[in-house]
Structure formats: C-alpha cells, structure tokens
C-alpha cells in the first residue's frame, strides 16, 4: 500500500488555484445547470443518484484505507447504521430538521466506527481486516434481530420519509438527484480540506511508516480513531442518501458483505488515496453493468439472461481488480492522468 500515491495533488497552498479547481467548478456547473434540465428521470434515478451515494461511501473508505492505510471490509455496516439512524431520528424526533438528522446519523455511524476501530490500535493488516468483518456481521444481525430499529417491521425493512428541507421537498427524481449532489459536494469539499491539513498528513504518515510516525510525535491512537470516525461518518451519510434518495425502501440484507466489497472495489479500481478516484471508480461500478448487459444482449441475445449477466459481471469485476493491482495499482485515475499528459505532449509537439 505504501507505493500508492496521489501524484497530482500534493497538498500545498498553491494547488488551490490550479486547473483542478476549475475542473471542479465546471463539473458542478454541469451537475446543477445542465443535467437536471436535459437528463431523463432514468438517468438521474438509476444512474446518477446511486453513483453519488457510492462515490461518497468510497470517499469515506478511501479516507480510512487509501489515506490512513487501515483496511476495512465492513463499509456496508456503516452505510446501514447511517440509513437506520437517520430513519429513526426522523421517526422519533420529528421536530429535528432533516439536515440535522443526516448529520446526527453520520455522527452515530462515526461512533460505531470508532468502537470497531479500537482493535486497530493493536491489530494490523489481515487481523484488522478480519476484525472489521465483525462489524459487518454484527450490525446486519442487530438490525434484523431488534425490531426497534425498523419500527417493528418483521424483516427489518424501512421506508424512507420524503426528503424535505424547510418548505422545499425533493420527491422527484430530479429533486433527489439535486439533493444528493449538494450533500456529496459539501462533504467532498470538507474532506478535501481536512486531508490537506495536518490531519491528512498524519493519516498518510501512519499508513506509510507507523514507527517513524510515532517517533515524530504523530498521535497514533487519535489519528487511527479519527480515520475510523471520519470514514464512518462519510459512509453513514452516504447510507442516508442510499436509503432516502436512491432506493427509498431498504432492508438489512441490502447492506451485506457484497456491498462492502463493492465499495472496496470502487477505490481499488478508481485509485486509492484519491478523491477523484472515488468518483471515477463509482462511475465505473454503476455504469459498467449497464454497458455489460447491453453488450451481452447485443452479442448473445437471449442466452444472456440476468443470471449470466450477474456471473459475467462478477468475473469481469474480479479480473479487473487483479489486472489493476498488477498493472496499475494507482487505478483508473492514474490511467486518465497519463492519457491527459500524453495528449498534451502530442498537442505541444504538433504546434
């Protein structure tokens, strides 16, 4: 993991005024100004909203795994904690505004994350990865077992409330997309800021050389728990989006180990320790099955049913993970950077 680095964004002050910022502004302009007017409901409902929720979850996992170097296989548990916490806050404290519910849900997820992060103080590598599985199984079990969490629904299913802020309600596909976009944009900006501060440097120090970090005076305990807390907070908020803005009806089984792996795969494919990587990876994971099903149907016709689709999807995703780890451990983001650099060189050599 130590070799995986973000080459383009070295967090110095000057990098704030680079083309990066311009690019972000342009994307936001597109996201707010263009997509809601010309995008179809299908695009926003089935592609963009889950993309945003998964991207935020991937940013959360990236903080923990990519930056702080602590591998977690239990991300879905924190998605679930966020979703169910927001549901209960909204149900039981109706006077609280929804935004407060979301922040509190994130905080609850952070608290749970810190508890399951405690073993990281003594455990490393695989042992820690295995211990995060405990979070995965425990949370899923608790949400199914105790009816209180789902307001006594027999199978733990919850129906999301309408997203309403003040007098604005976000019920349409467009509304839910815009709501998700806003939350993700704010959360990403705050995360970027945090990663550029001393805390972000501490994360990387703990990841790259724990002993040296300790000698220098980086507080290992606080840094690791902070990584777990911030990561779980972001994943928890992503869980709220997943449940409230995307699916609208969720059950504990939806937050299973496969979901955790999916988020891990997003950051491996997109690029570890990179915020852009989280978005690129999430886009890939959302769009890829759609492309594969079109392609499969076109090539093989009726043989390519949903079972075959699911299996071939597994094979391709798994193979991609291996291929990326072997050929480009820095993920899609590095490939894109390299392509851009090559294009620039080509242009400059022509002119």
């Amino acid at each position: 993991m130590t070799t995986i680095t973000e080459t383009t964004v070295a967090p110095t002050r000057l990098s704030w005024l680079t083309p990066n910022l311009l690019g972000v502004a342009l994307l936001l302009l597109l996201g707010y100004g263009l997509v809601p007017w010309i995008g179809s409901d299908y695009l926003m409902d089935a592609v963009l909203t889950p993309f945003l929720a998964l991207a935020l979850a991937a940013i959360g996992l990236n903080v923990l795994t990519g930056y702080a170097g602590q591998v977690s296989l239990g991300s879905a548990a924190f998605l679930a904690v966020g979703a169910y916490a927001a549901y209960n806050l909204n149900l039981r404290l109706p006077s609280l505004p929804l935004l407060a519910d979301i922040v509190l849900a994130g905080a609850i997820a952070a608290a749970v994350g810190i508890v399951f992060g405690l073993p990281s103080l003594r455990l490393r590598g695989f042992y820690l990865a295995v211990s995060t599985l405990a979070a995965q199984f425990f949370v899923q079990w608790a949400l199914t077992k105790f009816g209180w969490f789902s307001n006594d629904n027999a199978s733990g299913v919850i129906d999301a409330p309408v997203i309403r802020i003040g007098s604005l309600s976000f019920t349409s596909a467009t509304g839910r997309y815009v709501f998700s976009l806003s939350i993700v944009a704010v959360a990403t900006a705050l995360t970027a800021r945090l990663l550029a501060s001393q805390i972000g440097r501490n994360f990387i120090a703990v990841r790259d050389h724990e002993v040296a970090a300790k000698v220098i005076g980086v507080p290992l305990l606080r840094t690791k728990l902070l990584a777990f807390g911030i990561s779980s907070f972001l994943i928890g908020v992503a869980g709220v989006l997943w449940a409230f803005a995307y699916l609208r009806t969720v059950e504990p089984a939806g937050f299973n180990l496969d979901r955790s792996f999916q988020i891990l795969f997003i950051i491996i494919i997109g690029g570890l320790a990179s915020l852009r990587g989280a978005f690129i990876g999430a886009a890939f994971i959302v769009v890829f099955p759609l492309l594969l099903s079109r392609l499969g149907a076109a090539l093989l016709g009726s043989v390519f049913d949903s079972g075959v689709l699911e299996m071939s999807q597994r094979i391709v995703i798994g193979a991609l993970i291996i291929a990326f780890l072997i050929a480009e451990p820095r993920g899609l983001v590095a490939l894109i950077d390299r392509a851009v650099a090559a294009a620039r060189r080509l242009r400059s050599s022509q002119s």
Binding site: R122, S131, V211, F261, I317, L325, I326
Partner: protein, 296 residues
C-alpha cells in the same frame, strides 16, 4: 437444572463441526505460511471443486473418475492462479495480495456458476447422518467421518512435509523466503506445489461441506467461518488452524445454546468473531501465530 449430558452433546457437536472449520482453515495456512498471502479465494475454490464434482457425477461420470477429474482440475487451477495472479504480484505488500485474492474469488465464483449453473445440487458421499449413541451422548456419524477425513488429511500433510524433498523446501520457504532463495530453492515451484495442496484441501472440504449443506453458492461463504479460526489460531500455524477450528466450533455451539436465547438467537453469525477479537487484543498474533518482531 443444569443438564450435563446435554452440555457434552452440544460440546461434542461443536467440536466435530469445528473439525470442518479446521479443514477450510488449513487451506489458508498452507498458502499463508509459504507466500504470506491470505487467500480469500479459498472459499471460492471450495465451491468450484464441489460444484465441478457434483456436476460431473450428475452427468453420469463414475464417482472415482469424477474425483480424479476434479482433482486434476483443481491442480490446474492452483497452478494457473500461481502463474497468472501471484507471480506478477511478487514483492507487493501483503494487503495488495489479499485484495487480489478477493478479486480472484469473484472470478472463480462467477466462472463456477457460469459453467455449472446456479441451482442447488444435493451431494451424496455415502455416509449417513444417523447419530451414534455413545454412553448416552448422541454423535453424528457424518461428523465423525468428517473428523476422520480431516485427521487423515492433516496426518498426510505432516508426513509429506516431514519426509519429502518438496516438503522440506516448503518448510524452508515458510521459515525464511530470502534464505530459501539464496540456497537455490525455486520459489515458484514451491508455490505451485502449495497452491496444488490448497486445491486438494479445497476439494476435500468442498465435498464434506457440500454433503452437509448442499452444493450451492453459499458454500463459498464458509471462508467467513474459517477467518475467525485463523485469527484465533494464528495465520501461520497448522496446529493453530486445528485447535482454532475446534475452539470456534465448540464456542459457537455453546454460545448459540446458552447465550443466544438472551439475544433472541442467531448470534452464530458473529459470536466467533467477537471471541477471536477478544483474544487478539490479548495476543495480537493469535494462539499459535509467530510473534512479529518489528525491525527498524
């Protein structure tokens, strides 16, 4: 009133199902010891083996021939994995290797089901599940058979590693990769042998688990049962895998029967993890794992 006989029955049942966990865990340990890879794909390999065998038998292949064919396929699979996945990743940090095997498990699971379909297959290996009555304690015949198979497998491996050249090389590599390289051992050959061995373990475990649960996708999830076993016993100890398996099996059953009712049941899913974690906090390398001395 406390029922001692019932306690013993639960305990023995737990220990015997623990043997099944050990069997899966041994596959992990073999690979971890020699190459430092925690092979998450062990469960997928197990599924692949069981599914291949069952499908061959269902298509009319005689039992022995199907067994041989599956064995050959597993050996080929093991060698292919070593070539295509692990060799290019040599010298990478262990966690990268782990993630690669995670990807691998997706590939193998997908391929197995694409090849043989997703329906559930029954697997009959000719051992009935009628319980024995030993001094008033009922013990499953199948569990005993499984324990015997696991036991002989372990004995076989022990003999192999003690008395063959490849076994000696294996131990040398497990002990010190660099030293082994220095004296001219060819690591890839040892690794290929180890992955082959892991494939054989996957086949045996797959058949036993398949006979117990039916051969289906969820079979690959036994990997999740094996992980706390490994944590408890230490990733690099075969003894640890066996003892850990027995302990987890016993603890799981005892917890389910005696603690479970307080939580409304279903705690099997995580009880093992909590126990393993609690132990880890005291002994960060498990019961039998090698203590890591940090060199700076």
């Amino acid at each position: 009133m406390f029922d001692t006989q019932f306690l013993i029955e639960v305990l023995v049942g737990g220990l015997l199902s623990g043997v099944m966990y050990s069997l899966v865990a041994i596959g992990f340990v073999l690979i971890y010891k020699t190459s430092g890879v925690l092979n998450f794909a062990q469960g997928a390999m197990l599924l692949f083996a069981a599914l291949t065998f069952v499908s061959l038998v269902e298509r009319g292949t005689p039992f022995a021939l199907a067994l041989l064919a599956t064995l050959a396929i597993m050996v080929a699979l093991g060698i292919t994995i070593e070539r295509a996945v692990l060799r290019p990743l040599i010298n990478q940090p262990p966690i990268t290797l782990f993630m690669a095997t995670l990807g691998l498990s997706y590939v193998i699971e997908g391929a197995a089901q694409l090849l043989w379909g997703t329906q559930v297959h029954g697997l009959e290996i000719g051992v009935s599940d009628i319980p024995f009555d030993i001094a008033g304690v009922f013990i499953s015949r199948f569990d005993l058979f499984a324990a015997a198979v696991a036991g002989s497998l372990v004995a076989l491996f022990t003999l192999f590693f003690r008395y063959t050249r490849t076994g000696l090389a294996f131990r040398a590599v497990a002990d010190d990769q660099f030293a082994a390289l220095a004296v001219g051992l060819r690591l890839p050959r040892v690794w290929a042998a180890v992955w082959t061995a892991a494939g054989i373990v996957a086949l045996v475990a797959g058949l036993l688990w398949g006979a117990r649960l039916g051969v289906q996708f969820s079979l690959s999830l036994v990997v999740l049962k094996a992980l706390p076993v490994l944590v408890l016993g230490g990733f690099d100890s075969i003894t640890g895998a066996i003892v850990g398996g027995l302990l987890i099996g016993a603890i799981e059953k005892l917890a389910e029967v005696y603690v479970g009712p307080f939580f409304g049941g279903g705690i099997e899913a995580w009880a093992a993890y909590v126990v393993a974690l609690a132990l880890l906090l005291v002994r960060p390398s498990g019961l039998f794992g090698q203590k890591l001395v940090e060199r700076v």
